[in-house]
């Protein structure tokens, strides 16, 4: 089976040759081709080259287009800082005032250099990988996006104390989100991956989720012409995923390493994809043997779960992760299959 067949079988709850694997190797591709990170996150052809190297080296079942959330803010005017060995981060938000937020122009996806980078990278990655690998495009939702435009603190204050402005801005970001998501799909993405970088239990309350976020999600997601996977970003999501499971077009949930997988499955129902939950950002701190053991524990837990995908959770796998640690994850899947035949 190739990656497409394996993930589709998982989606449909069918038999497959082994558990599908999805790894957050967006950043790692730069290391494989020794690309400077500024170049990697600004030249789509370099990003595609990095992902070609990822595919060649690890043969994952899904390739991600740039996992570059700060770039979403950059399109609105936030300033991004680039590092030598870590993914970029927001240096300065586009605005810190709720009132100024409403006056910010929404970028045109056909004109913005940053947004064109995302689309072009998707086209190139799809061109080289889509015959046997699924393509997941990463972006943020209409209500998570303002956190990278005005900072988490500014957006939290707006949501809490200037809710009318928050709702008005989200009307603009909803339209923008739908255009972007559908542009990704038209460029060759098979699914949209949405890191829930703001609307998670560590930041907001269930009341805000249910009364503000979910209506916005529902309106936006129903207009997306493809499937959506919600990604926990860096926060345990078990407390919220039950509220999110029936949103339009949502087919799966990638959960946190701290999320109990049995609870996660119970919350999202038996037919949604459940992805997780080996911690990606700490894969450079353990031996390959240790990683194999952790994968085996996860696989043993999910042995009867036909809709489970072994995935790295949280942010990118660090550049200095030994390749053998990543191979250990892939090997653990085939070893587990043999042991259980």
């Amino acid at each position: 089976m190739n990656g497409i067949e394996r993930i589709m079988a998982t989606l449909n709850g069918q038999e497959k040759d082994q558990t599908a694997v999805i790894l957050t190797l967006s950043l790692y591709g730069a290391g494989l081709i020794k690309a400077p990170l500024f170049e990697y996150y600004n030249r789509p052809e370099l990003y595609a080259e990095g992902q070609a190297a990822v595919r060649e080296t690890f043969h994952p079942d899904l390739i991600l287009t740039p996992f570059f959330i700060p770039g979403e803010g950059e399109a609105f005017g936030s300033v991004v800082k680039y590092f030598n060995s870590d993914a970029p981060n927001i240096r300065k938000p586009a605005t810190e005032s709720a009132e100024a937020l409403l006056k910010l122009p929404v970028p045109d996806i056909n004109d913005s250099t940053r947004l064109q980078y995302f689309i072009k990278a998707t086209e190139l990655v799809a061109k080289q990988c889509s015959q046997d690998t699924l393509i997941g495009s990463v972006m943020v939702s209409p209500i998570d996006l303002p956190a990278v435009i005005m900072g988490i603190d500014g957006w939290l204050e707006t949501i809490l104390f200037k809710t009318d402005i928050a709702r008005a801005f989200c009307e603009k970001t909803t339209e923008y989100f739908v255009k972007r998501a559908n542009a990704f799909l038209a460029a060759g993405a098979n699914l949209i991956v949405l890191p829930v970088c703001f609307c998670n239990p560590e930041i907001i309350t269930p009341f805000i989720l249910n009364n503000i976020a979910i209506p916005i999600y529902r309106e936006a997601f129903k207009q997306v012409k493809g499937p959506i996977v919600l990604h926990h970003t860096g926060s345990p999501m078990n407390a919220f995923n039950g509220f999110l499971k029936d949103l339009p077009n949502v087919i799966g949930f990638c959960v946190d390493p701290k999320d109990n997988l049995d609870v996660a499955r119970e919350n999202i129902g038996e037919h949604k994809l459940l992805l997780g939950n080996i911690d990606g950002p700490t894969l450079n701190k353990y031996s390959a043997e240790n990683i194999s053991r952790r994968c085996k524990r996860i696989l043993t837990n999910r042995v009867n779960d036909n809709h489970f995908i072994l995935a790295s959770s949280a942010a990118d796998i660090p550049l200095n992760t030994p390749p053998e640690n990543i191979h250990a994850i892939l090997q653990s899947v085939s070893d587990f299959k043999k042991e259980n035949e």
């Binding site: 800082k81 981060n89 939290l156 805000i208």
Partner: protein, 223 residues
């Protein structure tokens, strides 16, 4: 006593609902009936202590709820303590102390909450903002006479830059004179990092920052 407990419970409920308006209304009503001092001692402080315990002991408290707690304290100080300075914040009785996010760190929410709770506890807070170099922290502490520097970092990759502040303290022979409080999401996940980066203390949440800073201030050998 029953009324006190009931009011505290209502205030906790309002904070957990991130309902600033209701919380402020409850406090205002208590002030009108019993005065500012009793409101602080009987309602506000014990409630914040309870919220702090919830935050410390579980992952159930969101930043929204903690942020509203801080805002309520700030609102109360501004409204009921007639000692406001030019910035609209209560006149400082303690400090000064310096806070900031370490070099390369741009996650300001935690730092801002620490600032709110410190100010609400009467500290003169000098906030240097994001991406602050080790030399800038020390220069500002010396210039202002701060005995405590509070440094925030969200991720491991930026937290390790705090080591540079410790090195700068040693280089300038200020060990035991300037104390380092460190905090941020990564320190909750990896408590051993406090010692690794040279921190003198930490707290799992912004609400407990006052006792930490008081301890470090008292531990400083500067007279």
């Amino acid at each position: 006593m029953e009324k006190i407990i009931e009011t505290r419970e209502h205030l906790v409920e309002a904070i957990l609902n991130a309902d600033r308006q209701t919380a402020n209304q409850l406090l205002d009503e208590w002030v009108a009936e019993y005065g500012v001092e009793r409101t602080i001692n009987e309602i506000l402080d014990p409630t914040l202590e309870d919220i702090g315990k919830i935050w410390e002991c579980s992952t159930d408290l969101s930043l929204a709820q903690a942020y509203v707690s801080g805002k309520i304290s700030e609102d109360f100080m501004l409204k009921h303590l007639s000692l406001s300075d030019d910035n609209g914040l209560p006149t400082d009785k303690k400090g000064p102390v310096v806070i900031g996010n370490i070099e390369d760190d741009f996650h300001s929410l935690g730092r801002k909450m620490v600032g709110i709770f410190l100010r609400a506890s009467g500290w003169n807070v000098i906030d240097l903002g994001n991406d602050v170099l080790a030399t800038e922290f020390i220069d500002k502490a010396i210039e202002s006479g701060a005995k405590v520097i509070g440094i925030s970092a969200m991720m491991y990759s930026t937290a390790v830059n705090i080591k540079k502040v410790r090195e700068e303290i040693k280089k300038r022979n200020l060990t035991n004179q300037i104390k380092l409080a460190v905090g941020g999401a990564v320190f909750r996940l990896r408590p051993e990092l406090v010692a690794e980066v040279g921190g003198d203390g930490t707290t799992g949440n912004a609400m407990n920052v006052n006792p930490l800073f008081e301890k470090l201030w008292n531990d400083s050998t500067i007279i």
